[in-house]
C-alpha cells in the first residue's frame, strides 16, 4: 500500500527523519512544510491523502487550525503529531486523531496504516499503540 503523504513539522531534522521512515515504508512524501502557508501551498497542488501535522510551527501554534482546514477544505486525512496532545484532546472537526511525540517507527507505521485503511474504507485492525482517535 502506497500513499501520498504531507509532513508539517517545523524541526527540519525531525521532518527529515520522518520522511526517511515513511519512504522506507514505501510511501511517497510530497513535501515537508515548516509553517501553515507552505503547507497550504503544497496541499493545494492536490493529491495529498494523509497529512501528519505538528501543532507548534514556525509561525506559532497554527497546526490546530491548519489540520481542520486541510481536512475540511482539501479532503486530506489528518493526524496530528504533537508533544502536547492536550491542545487537541477534545477533537478537531475534519481530523482523525493524534499521535503523541516522541514516537518511534513502529508507532508511526501502525498509525499511518490504520489511518489509510479508514480513509479507503477498508477493514481496519485495532487502534495501534500511541494513537488517540477523535470522536
Amino acid at each position: 500500500m502506497t500513499a501520498r503523504i504531507l509532513i508539517i513539522e517545523d524541526e527540519a531534522l525531525v521532518a527529515m527523519e520522518l520522511r526517511f521512515v515513511l519512504e522506507d515504508l514505501g510511501y511517497e512524501v510530497v513535501g515537508t512544510a515548516p509553517d501553515a502557508r507552505t503547507a497550504r501551498a503544497l496541499a493545494s497542488r492536490g493529491g495529498v491523502e494523509l497529512a501528519l501535522v505538528d501543532i507548534h510551527l514556525t509561525d506559532g501554534a497554527t497546526g490546530v487550525g491548519l489540520g481542520q482546514e486541510l481536512g475540511e477544505g482539501f479532503g486530506v486525512t489528518v493526524l496530528y503529531m504533537t508533544a502536547n496532545p492536550g491542545m487537541v484532546s477534545h477533537g478537531v472537526p475534519g481530523t482523525m486523531g493524534v499521535l503523541t511525540k516522541p514516537t518511534d517507527e513502529g508507532c508511526v507505521r501502525g498509525a499511518v496504516e490504520y489511518a489509510l485503511h479508514l480513509r479507503r474504507g477498508e477493514p481496519a485492525p485495532v487502534v495501534p499503540d500511541g494513537l488517540q482517535m477523535f470522536g
Binding site: E11, E17, V21, A83
Partner: protein
C-alpha cells in the same frame, strides 16, 4: 441615730458633719430666707442679737446673724453648742449669774451678753445640728413669754425645713447634673466617633491602596480617594450597589457571587476582577474585605481593599509564557537529538541497534521531563496528574498485554518528583523495563513485574520484582552498561542504595533512596 453613734462623741461629730454637708450650706453667703426667720425670732423676742448657728466640727458657724460681727466662733465659746443638746428652748436669764457662762468672754467682754434663748435645730433622725438663738445685752429675769417660746420652737423647725429644702434642691440639681452629664457624654461619644471616622477617612484617603466599606447588608457606604482616582468615577457615584457596574462584564457575576457568599456567611471576601480604570480600559485588581463584628459577634461593617495587580498579572503571564516556551524548546531538543541519531544511523547500518537503544533512552528522558515541566491545563501529559506513579504507568504502556492490561503493576505510596530527579528516575525504570523485555519477565507473554514504592520514614523504597519469566541462572552476562546506568542513577544521582538479586524466580531490585531525593527543590523550599 443608732446607739453606737449616740454613745461615741467622735462618731456624732462625724455624722453631724456628713449631714450638714448634705445640705450644701457650709460657708455659703447669707440668704434672705434664713435671715428672715432669724430676724423674726429676734423681733418677736425683742432681742438685738440673733443667729442661726451650726456646729461644724471645732467651730460654730453662723448661717444668719444680726448684731454680731464675726461669721463664726470657737466651740468653747458657744452657748448654742450647749443649748442644742438640751430638750426644748434653753434660757439663760442672766449669764453673769449662771455658773456655766459667768466667766465666758462674751459675757465678761465688750460684747456684754446677758440674756440667751436658743432652740435646737434637730434633723429628722434626731441629730442636733445647731441652734436658732436670740441674745440680749440686758438680763431678763422674766425670760420669754409663752408666745415667744412657741415662736422660737416653730422658727427652729422652720430653719430645719429650709435646710431640708436645700438638700432636696441639691439632690435634684445633682440628678439634673447627672442627666446633663450623660447627655454630654453621649454627645462626646458621637463627636469622638465622628472624629475617629474622620481620622479613618483621612488615613484611608492617604493610602496608595483602594479602600472601601460596606454595611452588613452589602450597601457600600464609603470609597477612599484612591478608589475614585483609580476609576475616575465621580465622588460618591459608586455608593450603594453601583460598584458592580465598574467591573468587567465577564467578571461581574463572579464578584457578585463571592460578595453575596461573604455577606451571608461572614467569611472574608477575596476575589480578583478587572476594574474599570480612569483611562477607559480594565485593570486587574485584587479585592478583599474583612467583617467588623460587635460584642455579640454580629457583623456591623465590612472593610475592604482593592489592590492593583495588573503588573503582577502581566509578570505571571510573561513567566508562564516563558516557561512554556523553554519547555517546548527542551522537548524539541530531545526530538532533534533523537532524529539526528536515527539519521546518522542510516549511514551505518551496523549501528542501527545501538541507535535504537539510545533513542528509546532519550525517549524515556523526554517523557519524564514532559511530566516535570511547568504545565498549563491543556499541556498536561496525563489525566492522572504528574506524580511518579502517573509517569511510571505512562512509561510502561508499551509493555501492556494484548488486552491492554499493564504487565508492570505499580502500587504503594505515590510521590511528586521534579526535574532534578526526572533523569535518574527515567533511566532507572527504562533500563529495568528494557532488560526485562530482553532477558526477564517481559520477554515472555505470561511474565509480570510488580513495582512497589513505599515511603518508610525519611526513605523512599522502590522494589522491582519480576515473576513468570525464564529461569535465571545467576547474574546474566551482557547487562554491563545497563547495570552501570542503574547504579549511576540510584547511587550517584539519587543518593540511594541499589541492590540487585538474580533469584531463580526472577530479578529483584531494591532502590532505597532518601524521600527528599525525588523533589530536591521542593525539599529545599524552592518551588521554582
Amino acid at each position: 441615730m443608732t446607739n453606737s453613734i449616740a454613745s461615741d462623741p467622735d462618731a456624732i461629730e462625724a455624722e453631724r458633719l456628713r449631714v450638714l454637708r448634705s445640705f450644701d450650706i457650709l460657708d455659703t453667703d447669707p440668704e434672705q430666707a434664713f435671715d428672715d426667720v432669724m430676724l423674726l425670732a429676734a423681733r418677736i423676742c425683742d432681742a438685738p442679737i440673733g443667729m442661726v448657728s451650726l456646729a461644724v466640727g471645732d467651730r460654730q458657724w453662723f448661717k444668719a446673724r444680726e448684731g454680731v460681727d464675726v461669721p463664726e466662733i470657737g466651740p468653747a465659746s458657744s452657748f448654742s453648742r450647749y443649748a442644742m443638746r438640751q430638750p426644748g428652748v434653753t434660757l439663760v436669764r442672766d449669764a453673769r449669774l449662771d455658773p456655766l457662762f459667768a466667766d465666758h468672754p462674751l459675757v465678761t467682754g465688750q460684747s456684754g451678753f446677758r440674756f440667751y434663748a436658743g432652740a435646737p435645730l434637730i434633723d429628722d433622725q434626731g441629730l442636733a445640728l445647731g441652734a436658732l438663738c436670740v441674745i440680749d445685752t440686758r438680763p431678763r429675769p422674766q425670760g420669754l413669754d409663752e408666745t415667744q417660746l412657741m415662736t422660737m420652737d416653730v422658727l427652729a423647725r422652720q430653719v430645719m425645713a429650709l435646710l431640708e429644702r436645700r438638700r432636696a434642691l441639691r439632690e435634684r440639681r445633682r440628678s439634673d447634673e447627672a442627666a446633663t452629664a450623660a447627655v454630654e457624654a453621649a454627645r462626646l461619644v458621637t463627636e469622638k466617633l465622628a472624629e475617629s471616622d474622620a481620622r479613618f477617612q483621612a488615613i484611608a484617603d492617604s493610602m496608595p491602596q483602594m479602600v472601601w466599606s460596606s454595611r452588613p447588608d452589602g450597601h457600600h457606604d464609603y470609597y477612599n480617594a484612591r478608589w475614585y482616582a483609580f476609576t475616575g468615577a465621580a465622588e460618591g457615584s459608586a455608593l450603594g450597589d453601583a460598584w458592580g457596574e465598574m467591573i468587567h462584564p465577564e467578571d461581574q457575576e463572579r464578584a457578585r457571587t463571592a460578595w453575596r457568599a461573604s455577606l451571608s456567611t461572614g467569611e472574608p471576601y477575596e476575589v480578583e476582577y478587572r476594574l474599570l480604570h480612569h483611562t477607559g480600559s480594565y485593570a486587574w485588581t485584587l479585592s478583599r474585605a474583612m467583617p467588623i463584628r460587635d460584642g455579640s459577634g454580629a457583623v456591623t461593617r465590612w472593610f475592604g481593599t482593592g489592590t492593583d495587580i495588573a503588573e503582577m498579572k502581566r509578570l505571571e503571564q510573561a513567566k508562564a509564557l516563558l516557561s512554556q516556551e523553554l519547555s517546548h524548546r527542551i522537548k524539541n531538543i530531545f526530538a532533534v537529538i533523537s532524529a539526528l541519531l536515527a539519521l546518522s544511523a542510516r549511514q551505518y547500518p551496523e549501528a542501527k541497534a545501538f541507535a535504537k537503544a539510545a533513542r528509546t533512552r532519550i525517549s524515556a528522558l523526554a517523557r519524564a521531563h514532559e511530566f516535570v515541566r511547568p504545565h498549563t491545563e491543556s499541556s498536561r501529559p496525563s489525566l492522572d496528574g504528574t506524580t511518579l506513579h502517573a509517569f511510571l504507568r505512562d512509561l510502561f504502556l508499551p509493555y501492556d498485554d494484548e488486552a491492554g492490561r499493564p504487565r508492570v503493576v505499580v502500587s504503594g505510596d505515590d510521590a511528586d518528583f521534579d526535574d532534578q530527579a526526572a533523569t535518574p528516575v527515567a533511566l532507572l525504570f527504562h533500563e529495568l523495563a528494557t532488560n526485562a523485555a530482553k532477558y526477564g519477565a517481559l520477554s515472555v507473554p505470561d511474565g509480570r513485574v510488580a513495582l512497589t514504592t513505599l515511603r518508610q520514614g525519611e526513605r523512599y523504597v522502590m522494589t522491582w520484582r519480576e515473576r513468570g519469566g525464564p529461569l535465571l541462572k545467576g547474574t546474566p552476562q551482557g547487562a554491563g552498561f545497563g547495570s552501570s546506568l542503574l547504579a549511576l542513577s540510584v547511587e550517584g544521582q539519587l543518593g540511594g542504595a541499589l541492590e540487585q538479586v538474580w533469584a531463580p524466580g526472577g530479578l529483584e531490585v531494591v532502590a532505597d533512596i532518601p524521600a527528599t531525593a525525588l523533589a530536591p527543590r521542593r525539599a529545599a523550599g524552592q518551588f521554582a
